[in-house]
Symmetry: D2
Subunit: 352 residues, 4 copies
């Protein structure tokens, strides 16, 4: 059975490298995955900073992939040795909550390495992970693709796809994405799948805007210009057809409203802690549709996105800023938290 290395939550500001027990198969529908790459998500930072609380001792991480080590008796379709991407959450697929497709409605479901309300299963910043309901939590990685190629397909890219899809982008539309963090950049990549004439990427940090530009967006530096004003200038004074909010602040929410034209769609994918005030008389006179929520159809997006990556149509590689061994995980959290060294998406590699 033995032990392994893992990033363990030990209180606010403390996600530390520890030697812990290796997980074992508990249910016949489980698989054990040997992790080869595991990314730090923005929501892991919320745990680090104490915005959410998880049980002490929880192994963190829900964006990871690896190699099947072992499968339970009832697991069909996956065998030891296969490279797999792991969906961030899991559900039984059989209970009433699952059959009615109620988000978070599965009694046995949860998210890896997350707050107790969402199930407290250990996460993927570790050498090994126990994966429940393996037949629907795992996705096979095409042979031709490296870990870096598909790392963001676990969570960031499907979330960006959800944001773009909610925007209902039509060919020829103009699109503005407020935020060039990993989700905002992935939303920009996915917006391109719908045939827009222009995609704008708004941020305050130059190193993030450079990545946006590299991905085909027109960068708008909100630290130097008023983003909405600049976007209107670049869209014949009309504003964009679709604005995507990928930060989660009132300022960027209002930026979206101001950058969007008459009869337009606003898609919200940022995580907000504050309320916003909706100027209803203006909203009603200008025909707005606002969509917001969690990407509950994420499992449906993953095969589509893997196919687009395999075909060379999508490349999220520029979003990965650092690849560090798992044993440098504590430094990685500090870099990401303080946005040091151009930290954008940091991947940890166990066993290296």
């Amino acid at each position: 059975m033995g032990t392994m290395k893992a990033m363990v939550y030990r209180g606010v500001g403390k996600i530390v490298l520890e030697e812990v027990a290796r997980p074992e198969i508990l249910e016949p529908t489980d698989a054990i995955v040997k992790v080869t790459s595991s990314a730090i998500c923005g929501s892991d930072l919320h745990i680090y900073r104490g915005d959410y609380s998880v049980d002490e001792g929880t192994i963190i991480g829900h964006e990871f992939l690896g190699i099947v080590e072992e499968v339970g008796d009832h697991v069909a379709g996956f065998a030891p040795g296969e490279r797999v991407l792991v969906h961030p959450g899991f559900r039984c697929g059989m209970c009433e909550g699952c059959l009615k497709e109620i988000p978070m409605g599965c009694a046995k479901g949860g998210i890896f390495g997350n707050p107790t309300a969402y199930g407290s299963l250990h996460g993927g910043q570790a050498d090994f992970v126990r994966v429940p309901f393996a037949h629907q939590t795992l996705h096979r990685i095409p042979d031709s693709l490296s870990d870096e190629d598909v790392m963001l397909v676990t969570d960031m890219l499907p979330t960006g796809y959800f944001a773009a899809e909610n925007g209902d982008i039509k060919p020829g539309d103009t699109v503005a994405v407020f935020g060039c963090g990993p989700v905002g950049l992935c939303a920009q990549i996915c917006a391109q799948l719908f045939g827009p004439s222009k995609v704008f990427g708004v941020d305050l940090l130059e190193y993030r805007l450079k990545v946006a530009e590299q991905l085909g967006s027109i960068p708008i530096d909100g630290s130097k210009v008023d983003a909405a004003t600049r976007i209107r200038e670049l869209t014949d004074g009309l504003g964009v057809n679709v604005a995507i909010e990928a930060i989660g602040t009132p300022a960027t929410f209002y930026g979206c409203l101001q950058a969007a034209r008459l009869t337009s769609n606003i898609s919200i994918v940022g995580i907000f802690s504050d309320s916003v005030e909706l100027p209803m008389s203006v909203m009603c006179a200008t025909n707005k549709r606002i969509t917001m929520g969690l990407p509950i159809k994420l499992p449906e997006y993953i095969p589509v996105l893997l196919e687009l990556v395999r075909a060379g149509r999508i490349n999220t590689r520029p979003i990965i800023s650092h690849i560090l061994p798992l044993i440098e995980g504590e430094r990685a959290y500090e870099m990401f938290d303080k946005k040091l060294d151009g930290a954008l998406k940091i991947v940890l590699t166990p066993g290296s």
Copy 2:
């Protein structure tokens, strides 16, 4: 040329019956319509109460129908003697604003009997009206239909259709409409076109709830129960798939949010004067889509709705509470303003 009777704006609280000059063809694309029925709209009340201002001397009324009296040289497709429904607004269809489909973007466009910002053309609470761009402002009324059959197809019914369409109702969905005034009732009628399992109609006034019930809705009396709570009870505790706001107050807006289930659509068609606060963290965790605006595609809806009325699939007749001669117009405004005698939709008939 002669004179005619008309309801003329003379200051706040004063929309009075006067003898005024009959309109004449001014442009070759004009038609003159002899009005046979003309309804008072809720937005006429806003003028009456001084919420909007129009030029003194303006004839009020944008919901009307009648018989073509005369047509200009360039009017194709309509001839004197034909019964026509008049679209509340008009536009040239040729300028840049029209070609780009910018709402209210036509330099020569406007709304009948309305505030100056929207063009100050005289309205339809009169014996005759000049109708610009007749070829696209008029719609022929099928022979088999009476004035009462189609009166609400001018404005209320297409607005209700817009509300229902924005809700994106799927077969089997549950729908709640907050408000049983003419627009809310028309939204309930139109919601039924999309195969819902249940439609709820919420109001505080018993006589309006009775009409909702007559139209096939499940009435919810907000003066006696908490509407959202009651709606949840009647939907297996889940809430509705689609909530439609047809009043324009923060209270009914929040009622919609509370009555709507996880992953649901909110469609706003009420006219708001206040802002509302959006609790973003709740909104994002519960997957909401909010659509709001003006029914700019109204001209496309009218032929569809006329067809449904003609086929007996839609009946808005129960919404008309009173039919009065135009010469009793002043009393009609008072009744509507004070909700006397069960006033819901009052129609004025010139020449009677």
Copy 3:
């Protein structure tokens, strides 16, 4: 363990009542259902007539419902004593074919009582049935509904829904359904969910046209008039927006083409044995969309349709022409085969 009664295939023209062994749980995901109602499907007649072949000894029947008698160890969400409707087919949901949603792609899947190519599991015209993958093959029946209320929700109604959905019916559209057998009538019922102005039901048999009329359709007797010509007369000479083929013959296929207007949709749900010739130059000049296929999303439709039946929006009861005890099954097959006594949908009740 004991024996039970069942309708067993013994060669062309011979589906006979026999005493056979009662089924038992074989897999932990199985359930045993005590059948209370079981209908004869048109495709059972194809077996009876020898159009398809099944293994001798197969119990026939894929449209049935009943009471859970026993469940395997891994069945979640269903318990003995619950009333359940059984989906006509079953699949594991875990293998590659299932995960890729390939129709009939599940290695362990099949259809009850059907040809060997589709799995040869015993069917439901029997006292008891073994139901594989119970958690996704069973649907709970709401308490307020009788067997007759939901009998057609097993197969006919979702197939009719599929036909209507493929027609992409918009509010105000006119719809013609060629065929007033159970599927055609269910297509007419479901067409009404999309807000059409008129639904036409075409058939050659008067007793079937009467049911169409009872369900809200305009009956067209193809034995007395040319159906397409009559439909054009009743649609202002234009033809219908949507034509649905529910018979499966070249004649009704061409009837659909002739009854459909410029820019229209043809939805095919009849089972064809012959080819048809497409007059491409006419088709291209008249903007046609033809959709055909098997209702593979049937499991998604069932909960929606159950909800609509529960709410009283859908009533398929008039389509059931006869309810006979299972022991009269042989006579029932003969009646259905020869269209005796107004046979439309015959339900067999075991144990009575």
Copy 4:
């Protein structure tokens, strides 16, 4: 008034350069356009070969653009000196046929330089053209774009867009276009707007396949391999999600059926003279949707496509194989007819 040069129809095989009278404004809604570029369409070849007949003396050409020379009194929005693209057809927009959006339903409408059934107005392979209903027949060309940039936006590109749109391509889908003539290549360009993982271009001519490859397609040489077989190999044995027919022969129609996977869409945009036989039992078992027709929404597509060209997202320049002076028009027809010198799209430039 004076004369001008034009390509005039003088019988089968004879479209000849002549000196003819210059057109003049006849209606107040007319404009006169000085042609700067005019392409030869495949349907012009049909006239040349005698497949269609037009009146002798008709000036040919419906794909052209130029500079506004003069406008009638009622033309709003366009002034002399502006560069404009001319829509191939025109309609009054006011009559019943127009208001009901009946294709070819306008009594005053037609197509430039075309068979009499569609109106016999003189076409654009000339120095000047009279353009009816200028306000909706003309589209302004953005300053930054050359004639070559937008030449195909008149007809080929919107037709290709129509084909792609009818295919209902989703992100990640695979697409096969049978035909690498101008329409097929434009369909390939437009397919890319919907986020496919792969687009295949099928043809028998190497020089056309080279252009397909240059435009981002995977070329399939039908003269060397069986196209459908090769496409299945390159799509994991499954076949494509969407097949587009852009030739108009039974062979390519069946190629599409064979290249398309279970549950797929076939979009037909080729012009057929023959019928095809539909194997209905196969079609129904494999869930197919076939769409065919004329691109009647073409005027809506043009502004979208101009915007995409302006933004650099679409480049149809590689499809133009030759630019010749109008006075070499006769040789151009011969080249195009016989596919000499790699003729793909030939543009004629008057006045040069």
